[in-house]
């Protein structure tokens, strides 16, 4: 398993890169990445120097009006010569055909890739690898990664995206209550439902609004068993300000094994206390009115 971390600001590069096998970063058609084109070039060069992998992410939906910008961005990406492109919009597959990137596409299904057959379908259609959904139980994950040995990836750390809207919830809300507030791209805002007490990060940018889980997924121990089957494991840094914490997460995921897993996890949780969770790994989310 390649261990990857999302690089959202260039200042984190030197801290993260030595600990991992590569980085995922981006600029357009994604959110929460504060990288300029020069930052991307610099990150690319540094990856080459350390012989690390370099991946681009484009995980937003693209309107028909944005297709020309997309094609221009693809030209820039070609210049960077990434090892892969994480995408979410199926239109990227067609757009990539006019570049030499078609064989480097990695489909991140976000919330809609929950089974082996759909994953296999994408792989059969020349997608290099797939990222499975976050709402799966450990048993379901194990089945998928076993069925598709070495062609599947997953997020192994970080807040999980719960919703993605083209609507500008924050802009509209502040307009509704007639309040001036500096909110665009701000990563410190949180939503609390009136009957609940947990706080879910919410961020809005020019592409829409995104809401994430209140908790941070950690699966140190589970990764040990999954690692031989996974192509890549992704540490997502969105909303995590402390680079030292991220660096430690990278270090720990690298070194964890069957013998030290309990110690590594407990030491991490002790040194970096926070709202961690196993997410849905042990929690089915298919409750219906029938039970």
């Amino acid at each position: 398993m390649e261990l990857l971390v999302t690089l959202r600001k260039i200042e984190s590069l030197e801290k993260f890169l030595p600990m991992v096998d590569g980085i995922i970063t981006g600029q357009s058609f994604t959110t929460g990445y504060k990288m300029s084109k020069d930052d991307l070039r610099k990150a690319r060069a540094y990856c080459q120097t350390l012989n690390k992998k370099f991946y681009i992410v484009m995980d937003n939906f693209i309107t028909e009006d944005e297709r020309m910008i997309l094609l221009e961005y693809f030209s820039f990406i070609e210049e960077l010569n990434p090892d892969g492109i994480y995408f979410h919009d199926l239109g990227i597959i067609d757009a990539a055909k006019s570049s030499n990137m078609a064989s480097r596409l990695i489909y991140d299904g976000k919330t809609v890739l929950c089974n082996s057959l759909d994953a296999a379908f994408m792989l059969k259609n020349n997608i290099e690898s797939v990222v499975i959904s976050r709402e799966l139980t450990l048993k379901e994950v194990s089945d998928i990664v076993t069925n598709l040995m070495g062609r599947v990836e997953m997020q192994i750390f970080g807040h999980l995206r719960m919703s993605y809207s083209r609507r500008r919830f924050l802009t509209n809300y502040f307009r509704e209550i007639n309040k001036d507030y500096d909110y665009l791209g701000k990563e410190t805002l949180k939503l609390v439902e009136e009957q609940r007490d947990y706080a879910m990060p919410i961020v809005e940018d020019e592409n829409g609004t995104y809401i994430y889980t209140d908790f941070i997924l950690e699966m140190f121990e589970e990764v040990v068993k999954l690692r031989p089957f996974l192509r890549r494991g992704i540490i997502d840094t969105l909303f995590i300000e402390d680079d030292n914490l991220v660096a430690q997460v990278c270090r720990d995921y690298k070194r964890i094994d069957e013998n030290n897993k309990q110690f590594v996890r407990e030491a991490f949780l002790h040194n970096y206390p926070g709202n961690y969770s196993k997410g849905y790994l042990y929690q089915k989310t298919n409750i219906s009115k029938d039970g």
Binding site: M162, S165, R167, R175
Partner: protein
């Protein structure tokens, strides 16, 4: 140019039949399994066959939603199900699992594969990709503007379907799992709890920044695309889709009939005048219980397209009775009571062959021929003197306000 298709939802057999009789060219329904909207009644295998047979009499089509986001275990029995749908003459399945395309081709060769809006196709490149994957039709994401829909239809040769009416997901369809976190119900497997319509406080760090009297909600107004029907016809959209597999027979009947008339009017007489559009809009209002707007069709969705306070818009007309039969000799409508009404109320009748004829209720009798002044027992059968002919499946609505 093929006439554009009007596609209506139905949660059970009766509503599907009403949709077809009121003018839908096609209906989409869910089976007991593999379908979102788990709270809808949904169709058993026999009911699907009955619907397919019924639809054939009207030259209407039936599409079955197989649109949950599948987990591995959910595929159990799917091949047999697809074969059955094919055998009974279902025309298409609406899918979000791309892996179903080859399964359909192999096991149910006469079924078309329509790609659900769950896959959020928002550009022509996505539609082209889906065509290469083997799709027969793509339902566009509700986030596409009318201008973008026109661009897409001009660039692709795959039929596209567009939502024109009904509830809107406030997030991209399929990309919201708020219910999973907040209620342990999987939004993508029929368990959506509409968490987007709840109220939220907003914090920046530890500071609360929301207004205590107007909390943040993601709830959106419903969609009403009546003003765009002409452009959709002219740019080659294949199908106009009404949302609402949870909706009542009254809603289905009224909305389907109004769009049917609007479409037929356009094909018969050309562009609709402002007066006609206003009339059809008013007809749609009679079925609404939430405010509506044109969603993303006009571009961005600003705060005027959200609901921060009251959810209901207030209906101007109440659905009060469903016509079971008509006694031509005694000039009596035999109706099933749906909601309260009484002698003296003004009733508007509409149906597949009748447009908004009104009468005042004077004489009502129960099945024992006892006089009734107040109809307040749902499902009760009443005989009502009426000055014009009605048909089974016509509906009565009380004119509550003008």
């Amino acid at each position: 140019m093929d006439k554009i298709e009007l596609l209506a939802p139905a949660k059970d057999l009766q509503k599907a039949k009403i949709a077809i009789m009121y003018g839908a060219d096609a209906v989409y329904v869910g089976g007991k399994f593999y379908s979102l909207r788990s709270r809808a009644s949904n169709f058993g295998l026999e009911e699907l066959k009955e619907l397919a047979d019924f639809a054939k009499q009207y030259k209407a089509k039936v599409y079955v939603t197989v649109n949950i986001v599948f987990h591995d275990a959910d595929y159990y029995g799917i091949k047999e199900y697809l074969k059955y749908l094919d055998k009974i003459g279902i025309n298409a399945v609406i899918i979000s699992s791309l892996a179903l395309i080859p399964l359909v081709r192999k096991n149910a060769p006469d079924l078309e594969c329509h790609i659900s809006t769950q896959l959020s196709a928002l550009n022509s490149a996505a539609v082209k990709t889906l065509k290469e994957f083997g799709a027969d039709r793509v339902v566009l994401a509700r986030e596409a503007s009318m201008n973008q829909i026109e661009q897409i239809t001009h660039k692709v040769d795959l039929p596209v379907e567009v939502f024109i009416h009904g509830g809107m997901c406030s997030n991209y369809s399929g990309r919201c799992v708020l219910s999973n976190r907040m209620t342990l119900r999987d939004a993508n497997r029929g368990g959506c709890a509409h968490s987007c319509r709840w109220k939220y406080r907003l914090y920046d760090g530890r500071d609360i920044i929301s207004d205590p009297y107007t909390l943040l909600s993601m709830s959106s107004k419903d969609l009403r695309a009546s003003a765009y029907i002409e452009r959709m016809i002219e740019c080659g959209v294949a199908s106009l889709k009404i949302e609402g597999r949870m909706k009542s027979e009254y809603y289905i009947g009224q909305v389907v009939k109004t769009y049917r008339r609007m479409i037929d009017d356009y094909y018969a007489n050309g562009p609709l005048t402002k007066e006609k559009l206003a009339y059809y809009d008013n007809e749609l209002t009679k079925a609404e219980n939430r405010p509506s707007d044109d969603g993303f069709l006009s571009g961005d969705c600003d705060n005027s397209k959200h609901l921060y306070g009251v959810n209901g818009a207030g209906v101007t007309h109440d659905y009060v009775a469903y016509v079971r039969d008509y006694d031509e000799i005694r000039k009596l409508a035999i109706v099933e009571v749906k909601n309260v009404f009484q002698s003296g109320d003004v009733i508007e009748v509409f149906g597949p062959h009748i447009n908004n004829k009104r009468f005042r209720v004077e004489y009502m009798f129960d099945t024992n021929w006892e006089n009734v002044d107040l109809a307040n027992k749902p499902t009760q059968i009443l005989n009502i003197r009426i000055p014009f002919k009605v048909e089974p499946c016509d509906m009565f609505r009380r004119v509550a306000q003008e």
